[in-house]
Symmetry: C2
DNA sequence: CTACGTTAAGCAAACGTTTGCACCACGACC
DNA sequence: GGTCGTGGTGCAAACGTTTGCTTAACGTAG
């Protein structure tokens, strides 16, 4: 088969299915203009460079062919990808889907596409994902997997990678951040319990050494207790090794075995709250009759548990939306010094708390 | 400023930050070879074309510069993006994160990246997302948002877009599909209830007209009842308008108001099961003492409800993994006629079912 | 009537890869 | 000792855009 035949066949193949992506060259040919002119006509900000009538012809040609610009080619030339990397610990954890959803929606509005990766809280895995996403030329990152000390984030910051922390912060405070006013959240929980007459209030926190969320809630607990004039010292505080039911149970049990008999518990999150519930059941006490429990995050179905869990609701979705918006702003070149945005949580009172 | 100076400055600027992505040209220069040779040395399948010693030099140069190939440029040339579009109804629905996670993991293994979009079961929104993803040159789709009749999918199929349905099928059966053996799942539920001595077994299904999952579970219910020699006719079957607690409650209440008094209910999914639980409570009956209830999907915390919900567990994660694998196989050009893969569900017995 | 500014459009070079083809030694074969 | 492969390498043309520069056409002013 000679070259001409081969080419013809090749062209035929490419032309036959009407879904074959048409190119700017096709549009230009149909409109009878140069590809450069077509490019200008189709771009919003340089549309004024072509005569209205030509612009119209190009539009029609594009519409006829169902032309959609190839973002790959465009990206190669402009060095922009209109993609954002999203680093999340685990999509399977119900805490994160609403955040991701918020990011998705905010990005979609302006033509950006998120590239999401799960880190499993594993620094090595995270680094790999980060590199892969950078290789794909994402224009910035929303990071929801931060630890209080986080070398990767420090490096990225130093390199000037546009980056916004979501939900979890770093101690240094050197990054743009959108998170929850955890202290206010736990304060609402403590105030609620105090109003119900509780004085012996315990806190079963999360992994305070690693995660800002756990840490802030602990700090918030101590502060709120002090403000209420109550004893918020070590004997009523324990920490779960992770935000899980089992670790919560273990930590609570440890507290109970120390002889402490709190009438109420503020938990680091809802899973820890469930663990606490198990632990007090194990020693024959009941919630809420003997011990009130307040969770954190207000996860799905928290209202259907037995008893329905009083919990601090946080604005997951808005957290995602704001994170994306702040990042886009940064990419647009606005803002100079890092800013931290605190979103307000809201206590939801249910059956797991009761007056003493 | 003359051109030479300008160019030099430009180069300096590009070189200064050591995170500036280095290009194949840089690698080639350092290794003292042509960029074509460098390209070949770095590609696994054409590495044999260059001498081992040259290949080594190129490797070293690449390592030194921390070179990572630009997938955008590569994609432009090869017409491949190494991305897959994932269409999911709503990430916020706990059913989908494990599926997406399975897809992510399976794709990551072979260097692909998923581009995920939420459809909200809205056909127009879905079409937009589909177009956006196609414009981004995804190489194929995993679609978890299928309706039994689905014009968009039919069109995509007709156009030859590589596409795999996940979880939800289309009636036509013309698409490659990875889903759950719903009939077997509901059969396990019915058999379990029958073994407990139940004879009056109701089914509160989902939106059977639109979704294959709801439809198959209904069909499965009828078949299982027939096999057990029981009456599975209309008077004990109702359908919720959607897979929600509220719609489940309404449908169940309707059944009860018709005078029916089943001793057991198989629900279309866990949320409907919760609605049923509410409905029977409203008329003063209790679960499981008066009515046993079996859910479907075994959603997170189903084991912590009151009573813990007996439910049919489906392999979400594996569903995602297999969907991705099948799609990759298709893209690689393997397989010709559409195949449907059925993954096995597994009943998990808990407190919401009891012997009569 | 020439010169000049302005507007619209085209030309061509990039962006960072991949890949068909040409080239060049070099050893082997007739 | 020419002629052939053959293995290694380089050259240059793509891929589909964007964009700086140039050209063409057309008024308008001097």
């Amino acid at each position: 088969m000679d070259a001409a035949v081969c080419n013809r066949l090749h062209n035929d193949l490419r032309m036959t299915p009407d879904h074959a992506q048409s190119t700017l060259r096709d549009v230009a040919r149909i409109a009878g203009v140069n590809v450069a002119t077509a490019s200008r006509a189709l771009s919003s900000d340089r549309r004024g460079m072509v005569s209205p009538e030509t612009a119209k012809r190009v539009d029609e040609a594009a519409a006829e062919l169902g032309y959609r610009a190839n973002p790959i080619a465009r990206g190669l030339k402009t060095n922009r990808s209109f993609t954002i990397g999203v680093l999340v610990p685990d999509l399977t954890n119900p805490l994160y889907p609403p955040i991701v959803r918020g990011i998705d929606d905010a990005l979609a509005r302006v033509g950006y596409t998120p590239l999401t990766a799960n880190t499993d809280n594993d620094l090595e895995r995270e680094r790999t994902s980060f590199e892969v996403l950078r290789a794909r030329r994402v224009e910035g990152f929303v990071v929801a997997s931060a630890f209080r000390e986080h070398p990767l984030i420090d490096e990225a910051l130093a390199e000037g990678v546009p980056l916004v922390l979501s939900l979890r912060r770093i101690d240094a405070g050197t990054a743009w951040t959108v998170c929850v006013d955890e202290r206010a959240g736990i304060a609402q929980a403590v105030d609620h319990l105090v109003a119900l007459g509780h004085r012996e209030i315990a806190h079963i926190g999360g992994p305070v050494a690693e995660m800002s969320t756990a840490h802030e809630r602990h700090i918030g607990f101590l502060a709120s207790m002090a403000v209420a004039g109550l004893n918020g010292t070590q004997e009523l505080v324990r920490f779960a090794a992770a935000f899980t039911i089992e670790d919560g149970r273990v930590a609570c049990r440890e507290l109970l075995e120390s002889g402490a008999r709190p009438t109420a518990i503020t938990a680091g999150n809802d899973l820890i709250a469930l663990g606490c519930s198990d632990a007090i059941a194990e020693i024959g006490l009941r919630c809420p009759e003997d011990v009130s429990i307040v969770g954190y995050n207000d996860m799905p179905l928290a209202d259907r548990l037995a008893p329905p869990l009083t919990s601090v609701q946080i604005p997951h979705y808005e957290l995602g939306v704001r994170s994306a918006e702040v990042l886009l702003d940064r990419i647009a070149g606005n803002g100079s010094i890092p800013r931290t945005e605190l979103l307000a949580p809201q206590l939801v009172v249910r059956g797991s708390t009761r007056a003493i």
